[in-house]
Amino acid sequence: MLKIGETSTQILGLAWWKWVSIVLVLFALTAGMILDVPKLPILHETIRNLYYHVTQWFGMMIILTASLVYSIIHLAKGDRRSDIIASEGVNVALFMGVLGLLTGMLWAKNTWGTYWTGDAKLNGVAMGMLVYLAYTVLRGSMDEEQKRGRVSAVYNIFAYVMFMVFIMVLPRMTDSLHPGNGGNPGFGGYDLNSNMRIVFYPAIIGWTLLGVWFINIRVRMKSIIERRNAK
Protein backbone atom coordinates (compact mmCIF):
# COMPACT_ATOMS: atom_id res chain seq x y z
CA MET A 1 0.00 0.00 0.00
CA LEU A 2 2.92 2.29 0.72
CA LYS A 3 4.21 1.47 -2.73
CA ILE A 4 1.00 2.52 -4.48
CA GLY A 5 1.15 5.91 -2.82
CA GLU A 6 4.68 6.58 -3.92
CA THR A 7 4.74 5.35 -7.49
CA SER A 8 1.25 5.69 -8.95
CA THR A 9 0.34 8.35 -11.50
CA GLN A 10 -0.28 11.72 -9.91
CA ILE A 11 -3.02 14.15 -10.89
CA LEU A 12 -2.64 17.65 -9.41
CA GLY A 13 -0.29 16.31 -6.77
CA LEU A 14 -2.58 13.49 -5.61
CA ALA A 15 -2.41 9.84 -6.63
CA TRP A 16 -5.19 8.88 -9.05
CA TRP A 17 -6.89 6.46 -6.67
CA LYS A 18 -7.25 9.21 -4.08
CA TRP A 19 -9.15 11.27 -6.65
CA VAL A 20 -11.32 8.23 -7.38
CA SER A 21 -12.09 7.91 -3.68
CA ILE A 22 -12.99 11.62 -3.34
CA VAL A 23 -15.21 11.58 -6.42
CA LEU A 24 -16.99 8.36 -5.48
CA VAL A 25 -17.68 9.38 -1.86
CA LEU A 26 -18.97 12.81 -2.95
CA PHE A 27 -21.04 11.10 -5.64
CA ALA A 28 -22.53 8.75 -3.04
CA LEU A 29 -23.27 11.63 -0.68
CA THR A 30 -25.04 13.77 -3.30
CA ALA A 31 -26.60 11.20 -5.63
CA GLY A 32 -27.72 9.21 -2.61
CA MET A 33 -29.81 12.16 -1.54
CA ILE A 34 -31.11 13.18 -4.96
CA LEU A 35 -31.86 10.04 -6.97
CA ASP A 36 -35.22 8.29 -6.84
CA VAL A 37 -35.63 5.44 -4.38
CA PRO A 38 -38.37 2.81 -4.20
CA LYS A 39 -41.20 3.73 -1.86
CA LEU A 40 -41.53 0.98 0.73
CA PRO A 41 -43.63 0.78 3.90
CA ILE A 42 -41.80 1.51 7.19
CA LEU A 43 -38.52 2.27 5.39
CA HIS A 44 -39.78 5.21 3.31
CA GLU A 45 -36.94 7.63 2.64
CA THR A 46 -34.65 6.06 5.26
CA ILE A 47 -33.76 3.48 2.62
CA ARG A 48 -31.19 6.05 1.49
CA ASN A 49 -29.18 5.01 4.53
CA LEU A 50 -28.37 1.86 2.55
CA TYR A 51 -25.84 4.03 0.69
CA TYR A 52 -24.03 4.94 3.90
CA HIS A 53 -24.59 2.34 6.63
CA VAL A 54 -24.30 -0.78 4.50
CA THR A 55 -21.48 0.55 2.33
CA GLN A 56 -19.43 1.61 5.36
CA TRP A 57 -19.76 -1.88 6.77
CA PHE A 58 -18.72 -3.38 3.45
CA GLY A 59 -15.71 -1.09 3.39
CA MET A 60 -14.86 -2.06 6.95
CA MET A 61 -15.02 -5.77 6.14
CA ILE A 62 -12.86 -5.34 3.05
CA ILE A 63 -10.26 -3.47 5.12
CA LEU A 64 -10.39 -6.11 7.87
CA THR A 65 -9.84 -8.77 5.23
CA ALA A 66 -6.83 -6.85 3.94
CA SER A 67 -5.54 -6.59 7.51
CA LEU A 68 -5.95 -10.37 7.86
CA VAL A 69 -3.96 -10.93 4.66
CA TYR A 70 -1.14 -8.69 5.94
CA SER A 71 -1.15 -10.54 9.27
CA ILE A 72 -0.73 -13.84 7.43
CA ILE A 73 2.08 -12.31 5.35
CA HIS A 74 3.70 -11.12 8.55
CA LEU A 75 3.58 -14.60 10.08
CA ALA A 76 5.08 -16.05 6.92
CA LYS A 77 7.83 -13.48 6.33
CA GLY A 78 8.21 -11.67 9.63
CA ASP A 79 8.73 -8.23 8.07
CA ARG A 80 7.87 -5.00 9.90
CA ARG A 81 5.93 -3.32 7.12
CA SER A 82 3.12 -5.86 6.93
CA ASP A 83 2.79 -5.78 10.72
CA ILE A 84 2.30 -2.00 10.74
CA ILE A 85 -0.17 -2.16 7.84
CA ALA A 86 -2.18 -4.90 9.55
CA SER A 87 -2.43 -2.96 12.82
CA GLU A 88 -3.31 0.35 11.14
CA GLY A 89 -5.88 -1.53 9.06
CA VAL A 90 -7.59 -2.62 12.27
CA ASN A 91 -7.53 0.96 13.61
CA VAL A 92 -9.11 2.38 10.47
CA ALA A 93 -11.63 -0.47 10.30
CA LEU A 94 -12.63 0.26 13.90
CA PHE A 95 -13.20 3.90 12.94
CA MET A 96 -15.39 2.89 10.01
CA GLY A 97 -17.15 0.39 12.24
CA VAL A 98 -18.06 3.19 14.64
CA LEU A 99 -19.41 5.23 11.70
CA GLY A 100 -21.43 2.23 10.52
CA LEU A 101 -22.70 1.68 14.05
CA LEU A 102 -23.84 5.32 14.39
CA THR A 103 -25.61 5.40 11.01
CA GLY A 104 -27.12 2.01 11.82
CA MET A 105 -28.42 3.31 15.13
CA LEU A 106 -30.08 6.28 13.42
CA TRP A 107 -31.66 3.92 10.94
CA ALA A 108 -32.86 1.62 13.71
CA LYS A 109 -34.40 4.57 15.55
CA ASN A 110 -36.43 5.51 12.48
CA THR A 111 -37.57 2.06 11.43
CA TRP A 112 -37.57 -0.21 14.50
CA GLY A 113 -38.30 2.58 16.97
CA THR A 114 -35.20 2.35 19.21
CA TYR A 115 -31.51 3.02 18.85
CA TRP A 116 -30.50 -0.43 20.06
CA THR A 117 -32.26 -3.78 20.17
CA GLY A 118 -31.15 -7.11 21.58
CA ASP A 119 -30.87 -8.35 18.03
CA ALA A 120 -28.41 -11.20 17.39
CA LYS A 121 -26.59 -9.22 14.71
CA LEU A 122 -26.24 -6.12 16.88
CA ASN A 123 -24.89 -8.16 19.79
CA GLY A 124 -22.51 -9.93 17.44
CA VAL A 125 -21.22 -6.62 16.14
CA ALA A 126 -20.78 -5.25 19.67
CA MET A 127 -18.76 -8.35 20.57
CA GLY A 128 -16.76 -8.09 17.37
CA MET A 129 -15.84 -4.48 18.12
CA LEU A 130 -14.76 -5.55 21.62
CA VAL A 131 -12.59 -8.30 20.12
CA TYR A 132 -10.83 -5.76 17.90
CA LEU A 133 -10.49 -3.26 20.75
CA ALA A 134 -8.86 -6.09 22.70
CA TYR A 135 -6.45 -6.41 19.75
CA THR A 136 -5.36 -2.79 20.20
CA VAL A 137 -4.96 -3.30 23.95
CA LEU A 138 -2.90 -6.41 23.28
CA ARG A 139 -0.59 -4.48 20.97
CA GLY A 140 -0.22 -1.74 23.53
CA SER A 141 0.90 -4.16 26.22
CA MET A 142 4.02 -5.44 24.46
CA ASP A 143 7.23 -3.55 23.83
CA GLU A 144 9.39 -6.01 22.01
CA GLU A 145 8.78 -5.52 18.29
CA GLN A 146 9.24 -9.06 16.97
CA LYS A 147 7.10 -10.61 19.67
CA ARG A 148 4.41 -7.94 19.36
CA GLY A 149 4.13 -8.47 15.63
CA ARG A 150 3.84 -12.23 15.89
CA VAL A 151 1.45 -12.39 18.85
CA SER A 152 -0.87 -9.68 17.53
CA ALA A 153 -0.90 -11.30 14.08
CA VAL A 154 -2.03 -14.55 15.69
CA TYR A 155 -4.77 -12.75 17.61
CA ASN A 156 -5.81 -10.81 14.50
CA ILE A 157 -6.37 -14.01 12.52
CA PHE A 158 -8.33 -15.50 15.41
CA ALA A 159 -10.35 -12.28 15.83
CA TYR A 160 -11.22 -12.12 12.13
CA VAL A 161 -12.62 -15.65 12.02
CA MET A 162 -14.57 -15.13 15.24
CA PHE A 163 -15.92 -11.78 14.00
CA MET A 164 -17.20 -13.39 10.82
CA VAL A 165 -18.84 -16.16 12.83
CA PHE A 166 -20.51 -13.61 15.12
CA ILE A 167 -21.94 -11.38 12.42
CA MET A 168 -22.46 -13.71 9.48
CA VAL A 169 -23.28 -17.13 10.91
CA LEU A 170 -24.89 -16.74 14.35
CA PRO A 171 -27.55 -14.17 13.30
CA ARG A 172 -28.63 -16.47 10.49
CA MET A 173 -29.26 -19.27 12.96
CA THR A 174 -31.58 -17.25 15.21
CA ASP A 175 -34.33 -14.67 14.84
CA SER A 176 -33.13 -11.30 13.68
CA LEU A 177 -34.67 -8.04 12.58
CA HIS A 178 -31.87 -7.49 10.11
CA PRO A 179 -32.61 -7.98 6.42
CA GLY A 180 -31.00 -11.13 5.16
CA ASN A 181 -30.99 -12.84 8.57
CA GLY A 182 -33.35 -15.06 10.50
CA GLY A 183 -35.47 -15.85 7.48
CA ASN A 184 -35.84 -12.24 6.33
CA PRO A 185 -35.08 -11.56 2.70
CA GLY A 186 -31.96 -9.49 2.00
CA PHE A 187 -32.20 -6.09 0.42
CA GLY A 188 -31.06 -7.43 -2.92
CA GLY A 189 -34.19 -9.57 -3.01
CA TYR A 190 -36.77 -6.85 -3.35
CA ASP A 191 -35.60 -3.31 -3.56
CA LEU A 192 -32.12 -2.90 -4.94
CA ASN A 193 -33.39 -1.76 -8.30
CA SER A 194 -30.87 -0.72 -10.89
CA ASN A 195 -31.21 2.88 -9.79
CA MET A 196 -29.94 2.09 -6.32
CA ARG A 197 -27.13 -0.11 -7.58
CA ILE A 198 -25.72 2.89 -9.45
CA VAL A 199 -24.96 4.52 -6.10
CA PHE A 200 -24.48 1.43 -3.92
CA TYR A 201 -21.46 -0.17 -5.58
CA PRO A 202 -19.50 3.06 -6.22
CA ALA A 203 -20.12 3.99 -2.56
CA ILE A 204 -18.51 0.73 -1.40
CA ILE A 205 -15.45 1.34 -3.58
CA GLY A 206 -15.31 4.96 -2.44
CA TRP A 207 -15.38 4.17 1.29
CA THR A 208 -12.83 1.38 0.86
CA LEU A 209 -10.41 3.63 -1.02
CA LEU A 210 -10.89 6.35 1.59
CA GLY A 211 -9.99 3.75 4.25
CA VAL A 212 -6.88 2.76 2.26
CA TRP A 213 -5.94 6.43 2.12
CA PHE A 214 -6.27 6.71 5.93
CA ILE A 215 -4.10 3.62 6.36
CA ASN A 216 -1.56 5.03 3.93
CA ILE A 217 -1.26 8.27 5.91
CA ARG A 218 -1.06 6.51 9.26
CA VAL A 219 1.58 4.04 8.05
CA ARG A 220 3.70 6.90 6.72
CA MET A 221 3.21 8.75 10.01
CA LYS A 222 4.36 5.70 11.95
CA SER A 223 7.47 5.22 9.83
CA ILE A 224 8.42 8.92 10.13
CA ILE A 225 8.05 8.76 13.91
CA GLU A 226 10.18 5.62 14.01
CA ARG A 227 12.88 7.14 11.84
CA ARG A 228 12.99 10.18 14.11
CA ASN A 229 13.17 8.04 17.24
CA ALA A 230 16.00 6.01 15.73
CA LYS A 231 18.19 9.11 15.31
Binding site: A134, R150, V161, M173, T174
Partner: protein, 193 residues
Amino acid sequence: MLLYVVSTVFVCYLSFRSVVSVPVWNALFWIIMLFASLNAVGRSFIQERKGRLLYYYSIASPQAFLLAKMLYNALLMLVITFLAYAIYAWWIGDLVQDHLTFMLALVLGSTGFALILTLMSAIASKTENNMSLMAILSFPVQLPFLITLIKLSKNAVDGLDPSISYNLIIVLVMIIMIVLALSYILFPYLWRD
Protein backbone atom coordinates in the same frame (compact mmCIF):
# COMPACT_ATOMS: atom_id res chain seq x y z
CA MET B 1 -10.24 -24.36 42.32
CA LEU B 2 -12.94 -26.47 43.87
CA LEU B 3 -12.88 -24.18 46.88
CA TYR B 4 -13.43 -21.23 44.55
CA VAL B 5 -16.53 -22.83 43.03
CA VAL B 6 -17.87 -23.90 46.42
CA SER B 7 -17.45 -20.46 47.94
CA THR B 8 -19.01 -18.72 44.92
CA VAL B 9 -22.02 -21.00 45.01
CA PHE B 10 -22.27 -20.43 48.75
CA VAL B 11 -22.23 -16.66 48.27
CA CYS B 12 -24.98 -17.02 45.69
CA TYR B 13 -26.91 -19.25 48.06
CA LEU B 14 -26.64 -16.69 50.86
CA SER B 15 -27.66 -13.80 48.64
CA PHE B 16 -30.54 -15.50 46.86
CA ARG B 17 -31.78 -18.01 49.50
CA SER B 18 -34.23 -19.58 47.11
CA VAL B 19 -34.35 -19.59 43.36
CA VAL B 20 -36.17 -16.64 41.90
CA SER B 21 -36.90 -17.99 38.44
CA VAL B 22 -35.58 -20.35 35.79
CA PRO B 23 -33.75 -17.71 33.69
CA VAL B 24 -31.98 -16.36 36.77
CA TRP B 25 -31.02 -19.86 37.97
CA ASN B 26 -29.67 -20.69 34.54
CA ALA B 27 -27.78 -17.45 33.90
CA LEU B 28 -26.30 -17.43 37.41
CA PHE B 29 -24.90 -20.93 36.96
CA TRP B 30 -23.20 -20.11 33.67
CA ILE B 31 -21.78 -16.84 34.95
CA ILE B 32 -20.24 -18.75 37.88
CA MET B 33 -18.81 -21.19 35.35
CA LEU B 34 -17.47 -18.36 33.18
CA PHE B 35 -15.41 -16.95 36.03
CA ALA B 36 -14.43 -20.37 37.33
CA SER B 37 -13.10 -21.28 33.88
CA LEU B 38 -11.17 -18.02 33.66
CA ASN B 39 -9.50 -18.84 36.95
CA ALA B 40 -8.88 -22.50 36.26
CA VAL B 41 -7.77 -22.54 32.63
CA GLY B 42 -6.49 -18.97 32.40
CA ARG B 43 -3.46 -19.93 34.46
CA SER B 44 -2.43 -22.85 32.28
CA PHE B 45 0.34 -21.00 30.42
CA ILE B 46 0.89 -18.12 32.78
CA GLN B 47 1.80 -20.32 35.72
CA GLU B 48 4.52 -22.25 33.92
CA ARG B 49 8.07 -21.24 34.60
CA LYS B 50 10.48 -20.36 31.77
CA GLY B 51 12.69 -23.38 32.37
CA ARG B 52 9.86 -25.86 32.25
CA LEU B 53 8.54 -24.35 29.01
CA LEU B 54 12.00 -24.68 27.52
CA TYR B 55 12.05 -28.33 28.55
CA TYR B 56 8.65 -28.95 26.90
CA TYR B 57 9.89 -27.09 23.84
CA SER B 58 12.81 -29.45 23.49
CA ILE B 59 10.90 -32.70 23.90
CA ALA B 60 7.58 -32.15 22.07
CA SER B 61 6.20 -30.62 18.90
CA PRO B 62 4.06 -27.49 19.41
CA GLN B 63 0.93 -29.21 18.15
CA ALA B 64 1.34 -32.15 20.51
CA PHE B 65 1.98 -29.80 23.41
CA LEU B 66 -1.08 -27.68 22.60
CA LEU B 67 -3.36 -30.70 22.20
CA ALA B 68 -2.11 -32.10 25.52
CA LYS B 69 -2.78 -28.78 27.24
CA MET B 70 -6.24 -28.58 25.72
CA LEU B 71 -7.08 -32.14 26.65
CA TYR B 72 -5.96 -31.58 30.23
CA ASN B 73 -7.87 -28.29 30.50
CA ALA B 74 -11.00 -29.79 28.98
CA LEU B 75 -10.93 -32.68 31.47
CA LEU B 76 -10.26 -30.28 34.33
CA MET B 77 -13.17 -28.08 33.29
CA LEU B 78 -15.40 -31.13 32.89
CA VAL B 79 -14.73 -32.21 36.45
CA ILE B 80 -15.17 -28.68 37.83
CA THR B 81 -18.39 -28.13 35.86
CA PHE B 82 -20.01 -31.34 37.04
CA LEU B 83 -18.98 -30.76 40.64
CA ALA B 84 -20.23 -27.19 40.45
CA TYR B 85 -23.54 -28.39 39.08
CA ALA B 86 -23.84 -30.94 41.88
CA ILE B 87 -23.14 -28.34 44.59
CA TYR B 88 -25.35 -25.78 42.89
CA ALA B 89 -28.24 -28.21 42.60
CA TRP B 90 -27.78 -29.32 46.20
CA TRP B 91 -27.79 -25.85 47.73
CA ILE B 92 -29.85 -23.69 45.43
CA GLY B 93 -32.12 -26.37 43.99
CA ASP B 94 -32.27 -28.45 40.86
CA LEU B 95 -34.74 -27.13 38.31
CA VAL B 96 -33.54 -29.19 35.36
CA GLN B 97 -36.24 -31.20 33.64
CA ASP B 98 -34.38 -32.60 30.66
CA HIS B 99 -31.22 -33.95 32.29
CA LEU B 100 -29.74 -35.53 29.18
CA THR B 101 -29.69 -32.30 27.15
CA PHE B 102 -28.45 -30.37 30.17
CA MET B 103 -25.54 -32.80 30.56
CA LEU B 104 -24.74 -32.25 26.89
CA ALA B 105 -24.76 -28.50 27.52
CA LEU B 106 -22.38 -29.01 30.46
CA VAL B 107 -19.99 -31.10 28.36
CA LEU B 108 -20.05 -28.72 25.38
CA GLY B 109 -19.73 -25.69 27.62
CA SER B 110 -16.77 -26.93 29.60
CA THR B 111 -14.93 -28.13 26.49
CA GLY B 112 -15.57 -24.86 24.66
CA PHE B 113 -14.44 -22.69 27.57
CA ALA B 114 -11.33 -24.81 28.02
CA LEU B 115 -10.33 -24.63 24.35
CA ILE B 116 -10.94 -20.90 23.92
CA LEU B 117 -9.12 -20.06 27.15
CA THR B 118 -6.13 -22.29 26.38
CA LEU B 119 -5.28 -20.28 23.27
CA MET B 120 -6.04 -16.97 24.99
CA SER B 121 -3.82 -17.96 27.89
CA ALA B 122 -1.02 -18.78 25.48
CA ILE B 123 -1.38 -15.31 23.93
CA ALA B 124 -1.70 -13.50 27.25
CA SER B 125 1.36 -15.24 28.70
CA LYS B 126 3.49 -13.39 26.14
CA THR B 127 2.65 -10.04 27.70
CA GLU B 128 3.64 -8.46 31.00
CA ASN B 129 0.32 -7.84 32.79
CA ASN B 130 -1.17 -11.11 31.73
CA MET B 131 -4.01 -11.84 34.16
CA SER B 132 -5.96 -8.64 33.43
CA LEU B 133 -5.29 -8.98 29.72
CA MET B 134 -6.62 -12.52 29.92
CA ALA B 135 -10.12 -11.22 30.73
CA ILE B 136 -9.99 -8.48 28.08
CA LEU B 137 -8.93 -10.93 25.38
CA SER B 138 -11.19 -13.83 26.17
CA PHE B 139 -14.52 -12.35 27.31
CA PRO B 140 -15.63 -10.97 23.94
CA VAL B 141 -14.70 -14.25 22.29
CA GLN B 142 -16.43 -16.31 24.96
CA LEU B 143 -19.64 -14.28 25.20
CA PRO B 144 -21.43 -15.36 22.01
CA PHE B 145 -20.54 -18.94 22.91
CA LEU B 146 -21.91 -18.30 26.41
CA ILE B 147 -25.15 -16.77 25.10
CA THR B 148 -25.79 -19.76 22.82
CA LEU B 149 -24.96 -22.07 25.72
CA ILE B 150 -27.41 -20.27 28.02
CA LYS B 151 -30.15 -20.64 25.41
CA LEU B 152 -29.44 -24.36 25.07
CA SER B 153 -29.41 -25.03 28.78
CA LYS B 154 -32.54 -22.91 29.26
CA ASN B 155 -34.30 -25.18 26.78
CA ALA B 156 -33.04 -28.17 28.76
CA VAL B 157 -34.09 -26.71 32.12
CA ASP B 158 -37.56 -25.98 30.76
CA GLY B 159 -37.76 -29.54 29.48
CA LEU B 160 -38.48 -28.54 25.89
CA ASP B 161 -38.25 -31.15 23.19
CA PRO B 162 -34.55 -31.70 22.24
CA SER B 163 -35.32 -31.26 18.54
CA ILE B 164 -35.74 -27.49 19.15
CA SER B 165 -32.15 -27.28 20.40
CA TYR B 166 -30.40 -29.05 17.50
CA ASN B 167 -29.58 -25.71 15.90
CA LEU B 168 -27.91 -24.44 19.06
CA ILE B 169 -25.93 -27.66 19.50
CA ILE B 170 -24.68 -27.38 15.91
CA VAL B 171 -23.55 -23.79 16.56
CA LEU B 172 -21.68 -24.79 19.73
CA VAL B 173 -19.95 -27.72 18.08
CA MET B 174 -19.06 -25.52 15.12
CA ILE B 175 -17.44 -22.87 17.32
CA ILE B 176 -15.48 -25.55 19.18
CA MET B 177 -14.24 -27.02 15.88
CA ILE B 178 -13.23 -23.58 14.57
CA VAL B 179 -11.33 -22.73 17.77
CA LEU B 180 -9.60 -26.12 17.69
CA ALA B 181 -8.55 -25.75 14.05
CA LEU B 182 -7.34 -22.16 14.45
CA SER B 183 -5.37 -22.96 17.59
CA TYR B 184 -3.77 -25.94 15.88
CA ILE B 185 -2.63 -23.79 12.96
CA LEU B 186 -1.62 -20.67 14.90
CA PHE B 187 0.00 -22.07 18.04
CA PRO B 188 3.38 -22.94 16.48
CA TYR B 189 3.91 -19.20 15.83
CA LEU B 190 3.34 -18.39 19.48
CA TRP B 191 5.45 -21.25 20.72
CA ARG B 192 8.68 -20.28 18.95
CA ASP B 193 10.33 -17.99 21.46
